[in-house]
Symmetry: C2
Subunit: 192 residues, 2 copies
């Protein structure tokens, strides 16, 4: 998605350790006009597949997910993140390890909002090591919901997440695929 | 806002202790069509005031805030919540006590995204004891940003937040004002 790549190039910053900061339009400050375009792009890619719900993770997944949800006319459920859950009654849960923060969070979704018969699109802001999406896939499995596809705003294609997710066989649609952040240069996968 | 009141009546549930659960369209599952209407309502109320940014708190404030931001054509900044912050460099911070969860969280906003000259609209999902909005007001003060107004999706008018905020003198616009949850009946402030 050209528009998104331009925002990443113009407004993103690269920090040591292959960290891409896009706090200015996605992760802390949100650009609603861009997020609307992002949501539409997801919706166009996964339209007419009978999607009943979008599932994402708080907090940075919410903005792109709600715009996709509006476009597709379906509700959005965001998984909650907590250090560790004590009460898990009526919840689907999964443990997600963050390599960036070096901590494990439990994510959870209420059984009230996801179940058998749901056809879901998973959306997240970043795909790096793939742990968050794997957690959502586990939640979907517990709910016996059918995963129709995975939508990622920014993929760091040089990390293991993409390969891990491809093994699951679900269609993955990443709007921007970054092939390298070396020498503080942002390089995108070409020819997409 | 009639549409919102209907959703609260039809889809909300009252739990013991004057707790209103609106997990089915606002706090866990999000109804994007309703959130778009909510965002438009905020935008209409606070249009033409020169607002430069909307500031909210993760996670449930994000959906109404991004739709208001889209309507007003301004970015949204969401304050991050953390148990306690160790690194506060380059951050505006404030401590917020939650009566519901009986815990204190530090909220923070990067100095990169808020400053002198900003005219901001604060948006939050709930107004009960007012602590979250008071925290955002403190952040705004640190940033020397001008607060133009406060937009609340659901106000529990029988708790102290409304009175506390009125003392600050900022215009408050609550889309649904609940006057009582007694006997598991949801009653709204009449004649609005």
């Amino acid at each position: 998605m050209k528009l998104l790549e331009e925002h990443i190039k113009n407004r993103g910053t690269v920090l040591p350790g292959n960290v891409l900061k896009v706090d200015s339009f996605l992760n802390h400050q949100i650009d609603p006009i861009l997020m609307q375009a992002v949501g539409k792009e997801f919706a166009d890619r996964f339209r007419n597949l009978g999607i009943t719900k979008i599932v994402t993770i708080e907090s940075s997944g919410i903005a792109p997910a709600v715009f996709a949800g509006l476009e597709l006319g379906v509700p959005v459920v965001f998984a909650r993140k907590k250090k560790s859950l004590t009460l898990t009654e009526n919840l689907y849960t999964s443990s997600v390890y963050s390599f960036t923060k070096q901590e494990t969070n439990d994510i959870s979704v209420s059984k009230n909002f996801l179940g058998k018969g749901d056809k879901i699109l998973l959306i997240d802001d970043f795909l790096a090591n793939g742990q968050a999406i794997l957690g959502l896939l586990e939640v979907a499995e517990q709910a016996e919901a059918e995963v129709v596809g995975i939508g990622i705003v920014i993929e760091k294609s040089f990390q293991q997440g993409r390969v891990l997710l491809e093994k699951t066989g679900y269609p993955i649609y990443s709007l921007a695929r970054i092939t390298s952040l070396e020498n503080e240069q942002i390089r995108f996968v070409e020819g997409e």
